[in-house]
């Protein structure tokens, strides 16, 4: 009897994950177009958040450049969308974001965290200005039209990007690279003394985390149909990723996912009617979480009464 219970407990999480995966994979068969679009939005925010945590979680280096990589993806899609098929466009966007992040990382990550934070914060503004200047003085138009894709197709592309990201995140935690990253987060000097090439490890993981953001940007752009530098390079994306991750709890695998899902729902409720209130609430939640719940919402879920109950039953 007892062994049965243990196998059930062991199998419960994978079984539920499998069920969730099947439900997500067949979503377009039973859900309305609106639900599919809502799910796409939520999954996109999960991608931005988990990507941010991939690098900033273990290291403590705060990247404020998510919007820059997202925008690079959006613009890759806008430029190449009419000449290349979607998978190649997304690959190109991922490559462009990777290169940009590698460049930024190579420049700033050998220095103190301050420089990295400053540089990534301004990066969004820099690219926006450069692009605006280019569009106005060379192409003569401020915005661009993007080849539109079917919302179901975009949903599956986003889902695949998310699954690849989760797989990467899972494998990274168990790899030598991930271990090196964690030791850098705990003590950079000690990590350097054990023979880790500190700057290289940080730069590689930072660039890797940008890949998924760029890919998501390229996919989402094909839903909008029209983009301009202000839409593509919006600080909102950096801010949302950071706020969702911190709110959910960057220390655990499920934390950022939880944060992103909760916030994406809240966004759906508030953004169209009260955009300022939504941003205000997110800002307040970020500050309050840092002050009173530094481990994030996931920590609170772990302390919930029913968990204690189950914990006592398991140990009995």
């Amino acid at each position: 009897m007892r062994t049965d219970g243990i196998t059930w407990l062991k199998l419960r999480t994978p079984a539920m994950l499998l069920l969730l995966l099947v439900a997500l994979a067949t979503l377009t068969l039973y859900a309305s177009t609106y639900t599919v679009m809502l799910a796409t939005n939520i999954l996109m925010y999960v991608i931005l958040t988990v990507s941010w945590v991939l690098f900033s979680g273990p290291t403590g280096y705060v990247s404020l450049a998510t919007a820059a990589f997202f925008g690079v993806g959006v613009y890759t899609s806008a430029i190449l969308g009419s000449v290349l098929p979607l998978p190649l466009v997304i690959l190109a966007a991922a490559l462009a974001s990777f290169s940009l992040a590698a460049l930024v990382g190579g420049l700033t990550l050998r220095l103190k965290g301050v420089y990295f934070a400053f540089f990534t914060f301004g990066l969004v503004e820099l690219i926006k200005h450069l692009l605006l200047w280019y569009e106005v003085s060379v192409t003569g138009l401020r915005g661009r039209f993007v080849v539109v894709n079917d919302s179901g197709a975009i949903y599956y592309v986003i889902l695949v990007i998310l699954l690849l990201l989760l797989l990467t995140s899972y494998l990274l935690r168990r790899s030598r690279l991930g271990l090196a990253l964690q030791s850098i987060g705990q003590s950079e000097d000690a990590a350097a003394h054990t023979g880790i090439n500190v700057s290289a490890v940080k730069t590689i993981v930072f660039a890797l985390s940008a890949v998924f953001v760029g890919a998501a940007g390229a996919a989402m752009a094909t839903r909008w149909g029209y983009v301009d530098p202000y839409i593509a390079f919006d600080y909102l994306y950096s801010f949302t990723a950071v706020a969702m991750a911190v709110f959910g709890g960057p220390g655990r695998f499920a934390g950022p996912i939880l944060g992103a899902v909760v916030f994406a729902f809240l966004r759906e409720l508030l953004i169209t009617r009260f955009p300022y209130i939504y941003m205000l609430v997110m800002g307040l939640v970020l500050v309050v979480t840092i002050l009173y719940l530094p481990q994030g919402l996931i920590e609170l879920a772990g302390k919930a009464p029913w968990r204690k109950l189950r914990g006592s039953r398991e140990s009995a």
């Binding site: 965290g113 934070a117 820099l126 939640v285 002050l291």
Partner: protein
């Protein structure tokens, strides 16, 4: 010849503003160790408050200094006492405090910005004040811009004398060198750090007031100014107040030169300098 004089003088005019903005940020990072990305929001608050006072109550923009400065100081002081002090107490190491305070200021950026959007709306606001031309070495400049430089210099120099000559100034400088040692020597460190943060916010608001005399202001104007302040602070040397002042003037001159050639690329040029600086000399002009 006239164009060179024109570019140099307008560079100094711009540089005065940059210096003031950067001094505030430098104080907040150099002493209180807060990477305050919401710095530009205080500039915005100063600018929009001055606009409201001038258009609704016909209060002279320079007089609104008496409102903006102290109110922003109080706001900064309270913010440090409530938010950053708490984060400091709960952070196990300076590195953790740095990232957590950065995250909190990122949250505050959006809180302040959206309160401003609520209050003033997204419209671009401007007014004309002392907009008549003044002849200077054969080139004419708006009287308001010259007044801006004079005020920025006055505030900057006054603040420097305050740091160099007063007891509180001494305590601030001690805290900048080593806050733990300063606390052990009997400096009330909580109060000094909060005062520093308040001064940073106050300087930003005063800069915002001066900016509103020459340029239009709006609720989402803050971020580009924060970016410029960050570049100036790195250019001058992290934590050095005279360095920030010098860095501001240098960047102002560069900005004026670039905007003479291609105004749309000013910020891009600043970023290029930022990147070069990180490659060649990340400690900046006066960094240790």
């Amino acid at each position: 010849m006239e164009t060179i004089v024109g570019v140099v003088i307008s560079g100094l005019l711009l540089g005065g503003l940059y210096a003031l903005i950067a001094m505030g940020l430098s104080l907040q990072y150099g002493v209180a160790r807060v990477l305050n990305v919401s710095h530009g929001e205080f500039i915005m608050l100063g600018g929009l408050t001055t606009w409201t006072l001038y258009t609704a109550f016909h209060i002279n923009p320079l007089l609104s200094l008496a409102v903006c400065g102290p109110v922003a100081f109080a706001l900064g002081y309270v913010l440090h006492r409530t938010v950053y002090r708490r984060i400091w107490a709960s952070s196990p190491s300076p590195g953790v405090f740095e990232s957590n305070s950065l995250l909190a200021s990122f949250g505050l950026l959006f809180v302040i910005q959206n309160i401003a959007l609520f209050t003033w709306g997204p419209e671009i606001r401007g007014y004309t004040y002392l907009a008549f031309p003044v002849d200077l070495l054969g080139v004419s400049f708006g009287a308001n811009r010259l007044l801006t430089l004079a005020s920025a210099l006055f505030v900057g120099v006054t603040f420097y004398i305050f740091l160099a000559r007063t007891r509180i100034g001494k305590a601030i400088r001690a805290a900048a060198q080593d806050s733990t040692a300063a606390a052990l020597m009997g400096v009330n460190i909580n109060s000094v750090l909060a005062v520093c943060f308040g001064f940073g916010a106050g300087l930003a608001a005063i800069a915002g007031m001066l900016i509103s005399m020459c340029y239009p202001v709006h609720a989402v104007m803050g971020i580009p100014y924060t970016v410029i302040a960050m570049i100036v602070v790195v250019l001058g040397g992290l934590g050095s107040i005279p360095g920030s002042f010098l860095g501001g003037v240098v960047l102002g001159l560069i900005g004026s030169l670039v905007s003479y050639v291609e105004p749309a690329l000013t910020l891009v040029a600043y970023y290029l300098i930022f990147a070069l600086l990180l490659l060649v000399r990340p400690t900046g002009i006066m960094g240790r």
